[in-house]
Symmetry: C2
Subunit: 498 residues, 2 copies
């Protein structure tokens, strides 16, 4: 069909612009010299703007209208049918956003993120205030254009987690909190593990060697991937053929790099296993950030922090870093599963991690409903950390400035992490039903089998299915907090003898 | 002036597209996973095409026409006057090239270069034949559109070395050959240095440390630069604020990385020292490839292979690689200046290097005047190597496939290297006139003073002046082979006791 062929050529242009923007962003975070920022930001802004212009152009509208007509629609394969339906929905939301507003937002976010690169090490929150203010203001404005009937924060949540809203997240998070707070309390009454011996001096090149080993163990394909270094670990892809990850090495502790590698591998494995039939469409990505996080946290925690995972790999750790030969495997296992309220999200344990997310969710909500102003963010952060986790940030660096998300304009993203935890519990339960006991799978080195299951049920679909559809088709269930709570309860009851 | 302001905004678009293409190319050579090539090539092709479309658009024509009118032209500063004159000339040449042809050329070159990445290690010339054929054919076609009155090879030479043509290059190269061949012959009758002890095992991280030391010594600014790794060392920039270099570490010999670093630093220092007033214009680059190579070879050879350079830095080599403590400085000096015909251009000594270039020049000329066909290139290469240098390639890898230039479509580029040598001799002579004895300058650690001289006379101008203008203004001379021959004669007469 001529019409479809032309449409494919048209979206290829948008894909080329997005590809270029993505590589420029990768470059900014992993390679670019300090003084190169201006030119890269200008180029990203320009390219994003051009892509946005195409995506809301009359040409796009015409294609969507034409291809939606029954005589054309019926001739397309399932992938393009889904793409047209989803893109039309997206187009109808986005077409009302003024171009200058979208461009301005892109530019502000790039500058803001670039400012954060220095503001964080300088512990300087004031530097970020004007950016946060402007981003919140612009995000509200854009949301109003996208859907005037919804609150701005609802629009933002839906952006990262399709078909979700503030109220549903609140309900799920409340159940999650009810499930984990008693566990955290019970643990706090037990004798705590001493993990002081995990601190030492671990040269970067050895940690790198370890990273390559574990990337291989979990099946991250380096023909379609690269490991880089960045201030904040992240994964980034635009097709199954090129999905990159970064980490950040702490020279005094191997755990942050090790588990961030497993985390980012989870993201990357998701996208490396997308069906190649989706290449050349906009469905060529993980379906939502929540589903993405379910995969990253599955590899990081459910696999990587499982006792039985280490049965096969602990010796390797000792080979690369002989220091660990003196630490028994069981002690290492406890050391990477110590539950203890702490300040930094990405270093938090599996349980308290959820509270870090709930705090951010509540702060974002308050910023957007106007009950919290940007300048009061550090105080509000401090108060919530104290009240939910019993710890008090000693600096902005390990407090409100710790994450790249807000500086990059990603408000509404954080809930995805805890939603991801919830989904991952459901997938674990289903895997055990279908493939048998999870501990056995790990002891018998069946990670490829687990990945195949995840690929068959989740990865391959990209954006063809929403999270709710995936969970329904895979687990025959609604989104359900109980499985992850059950997993937490079993794991930590055993670990801490609760 | 409104008109000029709009023109500046317009060329910013082109600069943004070029910036993005450049970073994508950097990514392809330094970072991208194997399977990412398709998407990056598609994006580079698209962006280059968009930039090209803008550069030959009616909008561009209107700006050039309008701003050339006396009432507007007189109001502009010198930089924009020069830019308009040069761009109009370029526009008049390029406007006739059909867009599809230019696009096709970009794409073929990207694919060709990407094929070379595997063809070289596989020693597979056949893989490159279709690409070389197509590139030569397309380059001829494009040249005909640009200037039907010139030979294709003349058009290509002029592209890299403004105001030069085949005949002038032939004349200069003939003088160069006449000057160096007797020196090479005289050296061949002398006792040769034994540099076998330079081979060893030199870990990459130590060679990296050495690289950073020498980048600092010559004044490469890492706030506006980055060192990466690539199969073929190169430098790359789009403004003084971001000029990157790569090297390739040989684990058995420190010399290739060390001197390629100095070479690429020469390129990078040139562009880091462009006047910032040129930012936002197309004059924001080194004026020609020949002038670029004059700078790279100045830092690599005239500075880096000078006996007195090592007076201050040889101890550092021994500190980082203790192996060198057992080698006296004088022996090291001889070891990095050994004149001996060899197979690989980038590892060739200062003298025979020129013959490598002359061979390539003659082969390119023959490819373009039709007296040599692509399939016969390896034989012709072999014959010329044997006749000019007395050595015979044992593989394509160290023969016709050794360089990235032809696979990237850069026919007409090679002469620049030897032209650069010629220019660098003229600059050396002038520096000695103005700043005093060069050996003394190096002993007294006056590299910053030398760089200031080069900046004042060359770097700052970017494309404001042609090479001929720079040489005229700086040395009060035409392009002249004699100074570099004099430098070679003095240096190697002393070194080999001729």
């Amino acid at each position: 069909m001529e019409q479809l062929k032309n449409f494919k050529d048209f979206i290829k242009k948008i894909e080329n612009l997005r590809q270029a923007s993505l590589i420029l962003k990768w470059d900014m975070e992993t390679c670019m010299p300090k003084n190169g920022a201006e030119a890269n930001i200008a180029a990203i802004t320009y390219l994003s703007n051009e892509a946005f212009k195409l995506s809301i152009s009359d040409e796009m509208k015409n294609y969507l209208d034409e291809l939606s007509k029954e005589q054309n629609f019926s001739k397309m394969d399932n992938i393009f049918k889904t793409m047209i339906i989803k893109e039309k929905k997206e187009f109808d939301k986005t077409k009302n956003v003024p171009l200058e507003l979208a461009t301005h937002m892109t530019e502000v976010c790039q500058r803001s993120q670039n400012t954060w690169f220095s503001a964080k090490p300088e512990n300087n929150f004031n530097k970020m205030i004007p950016y946060f203010r402007e981003i919140v203001m612009l995000a509200k404005e854009i949301s109003r254009y996208k859907d005037p009937n919804k609150s701005a924060y609802d629009v933002l949540i839906d952006k990262f987690e399709q078909d979700m809203d503030t109220q549903s997240v609140e309900k799920l998070f409340s159940e999650l909190k009810d499930g984990i707070v008693p566990l955290i309390e019970a643990i706090s009454e037990k004798k705590q593990f001493d993990d002081s011996k995990f601190k030492g001096t671990f040269e970067k090149y050895r940690q790198k060697e370890l990273s390559y080993y574990f990337m291989d163990v979990v099946g991250y394909d380096l023909n379609s991937g690269v490991l880089g270094e960045a201030q904040h670990p992240f994964a980034m892809g635009n097709s199954p053929f090129d999905v990159r990850i970064t980490t950040n090495y702490h020279l005094d502790d191997v755990r942050p790099a090790l588990f961030s590698i497993l985390h980012e591998c989870g993201h990357a494995i998701y996208e490396q296993n997308l069906s190649t039939n989706l290449v050349g469409t906009f469905l060529n990505r993980g379906t939502t950030m929540g589903m993405h996080e379910s995969q990253s946290r599955f590899y990081e925690n459910i696999i990587g922090r499982n006792k039985n995972f280490w049965v096969n790999h602990y010796d390797k750790l000792g080979q690369i870093l002989p220091y660990f030969k003196s630490i028994p495997r069981d002690e290492f296992y406890r050391g990477v599963n110590k539950v203890e309220p702490s300040l930094v999200r990405i270093q938090a344990d599996e349980l308290t991690y959820n509270l870090h997310i709930i705090i951010r969710f509540e702060l974002e909500k308050a910023l957007f409903d106007g009950t919290l102003s940007v300048k009061d963010l550090p105080t509000a952060w401090h108060d919530k950390m104290k009240s939910y986790l019993g710890v008090e940030p000693t600096s902005h660096q390990c407090g409100v400035l710790q994450d790249v998300h807000w500086p990059s304009g990603l408000f509404g993203y954080f809930p995805s992490y805890a939603l991801g935890n919830i989904y991952s519990g459901q997938f674990l339960m289903q895997i055990e039903k279908e493939l048998g006991n999870f501990d056995e799978l790990l002891i018998n080195q069946k990670i490829p089998k687990i990945t195949s299951w995840l690929t068959k049920n989740i990865h391959q679909y990209g954006k063809m299915k929403t999270p709710k559809e995936i969970i329904r088709d895979t687990c025959n269930s609604e989104i359900d907090v109980k499985p992850i709570i059950k997993y937490y309860t079993n794991k930590f009851t055993e670990l801490y003898d609760l």
